[in-house]
Symmetry: C2
């Protein structure tokens, strides 16, 4: 019997090489990764040329990444891995608001604004009044909760994607709930937009006949002492891409009907309550 790597023993041979004092969690993750990776290889039996295509894809996905672009997060997103990891880490009781992907466009330190203020600073798009409450699982208001919101502008770009073109902090703001747990601000009715699709991930999507679009959404990061933070979006009901979000971020419970407001200052309104679970 050979101790050397064969088709039959390959994963076990690699895993047997790990040291006995390796961090147990790392050991567990590496073992599982090697087993699944080798099972995948044995299932598809790649040719040498196919292996080279994979090496090249993985290399280019790293090389196009920079301070301003993270192509591996994008890859994780379009393969459903980001949403799966998020789901695993945020199992919540019925009634609690569900999470969705954080996305790459949040910026720490957005301006604190007063209830009712507008976050839309570029005059583009259709204004929308956002209202709702932050409550706990018993329906009790959570006072002093932080509601951090951000969205693209009417052209489909976040301010950080167009520095110098959009006003700083356009479509961003941080609000704090009062005693009744309510929040209220003016933003725009967001628009759907494509994820960056000029790199290896975009090429992959094209090869498997998938589009790069995300349905329109407003981001929320809701935090309150003693409660699990909520990272989520609300999606605009009726959007073309709800059923085919490029990053699989949509959940039924997060789709909101935007209502026409013919006689109000804003042509639209959207209402959503955030239900937090205790930590």
């Amino acid at each position: 019997m050979s101790d050397y790597l064969t088709e039959e023993n390959s994963a076990d041979t690699v895993n047997a090489r790990m040291g006995k004092s390796t961090n147990p969690r790392l050991r567990r993750v590496m073992h599982s990764m090697v087993e699944h990776l080798h099972a995948f290889i044995k299932d598809v039996e790649p040719t040498q040329d196919e292996w080279e295509v994979a090496i090249d894809f993985l290399t280019r996905t790293g090389q196009i990444s920079s301070d301003r672009r993270q192509e591996y997060i994008l890859l994780s997103d379009v393969l459903g891995v980001s949403m799966l990891v998020d789901a695993i880490n945020h199992r919540r009781p019925d009634g609690a608001t569900e999470n969705t992907v954080f996305g790459p466009f949040h910026v720490d330190g957005a301006p604190r604004r007063s209830m009712g203020d507008s976050i839309s600073l570029d005059g583009k798009g259709e204004l929308c009044l956002y209202t709702g409450r932050v409550i706990d699982l018993d329906g009790q208001p959570i006072a002093g909760a932080t509601v951090d919101v951000w969205s693209d502008n009417a052209d489909g770009y976040y301010d950080v994607q167009q520095p110098g073109e959009q006003p700083e902090w356009n479509n961003r703001g941080v609000f704090t709930t009062g005693a009744d747990g309510s929040y209220r601000f003016v933003g725009i009715k967001p628009v759907s937009y494509p994820i960056p699709n000029d790199g290896p991930v975009g090429q992959m999507l094209e090869k498997v006949e998938r589009h790069p679009w995300r349905p329109a959404h407003m981001h929320f990061l809701v935090s309150a002492d003693g409660h699990e933070q909520i990272v989520t979006h609300i999606f605009v009901a009726g959007d073309t891409y709800l059923q085919s979000d490029a990053v699989f971020g949509v959940k039924d419970s997060l789709i909101v009907k935007y209502r026409r407001m013919p006689d109000a200052d804003t042509p639209w309104s959207a209402e959503f309550d955030f239900v937090m679970k205790p930590v």
Copy 2:
């Protein structure tokens, strides 16, 4: 019932998104990859922080790669994937010489040399006479076979790793067998050396308590009309790292006893026959 991604349906939801006219082979590979990737995630349930460590590792592995360094091939090597893919693509009948990893140090266009010539040009190391035959499965000699050989020098570096320091084409040569299928050249008794371990892959090896060393070996690329090319090494019997080659390249059949030659021009000799299978 939701059509959206959940923990339960995640791989199927991602795979259902692929277009109907996608290249069937790509479709098959992507389906399998997504299934195994999601199964791995569900098995280990990474935290958000662990997911970030993985994204960072994959990104850095691409970014350190260049024209002179391919860290993703190194990753494939140390995870046993390169050897597994090679094994799958080169299943050979009993008696045929086995393949092993090609490695990154072959250079096309090495000088054609005459039988008996030395490939060692730097005067370093212990000389060794390499002899043997190229034969078919019936033991018949294969005339006109090309035997392309390369090794590190006595300091453990290939010439391309030390441009300007080593003579060009040091420890490289291409020989052609005569009517009796035999070959004969002088090289050095090669030495073990570490794979590049100053990047993400080296860091990973250290975390799982693996060393980066490869046992000493001479590379051979043997080609002949009508026969499947052999990409292999011969390993020096007794090497410290035979049981723990960092890239899992060793096979029993490729270990050769280097013999002392007290009265010859070269202090060592090594003999190996290459047995080719028809294409």
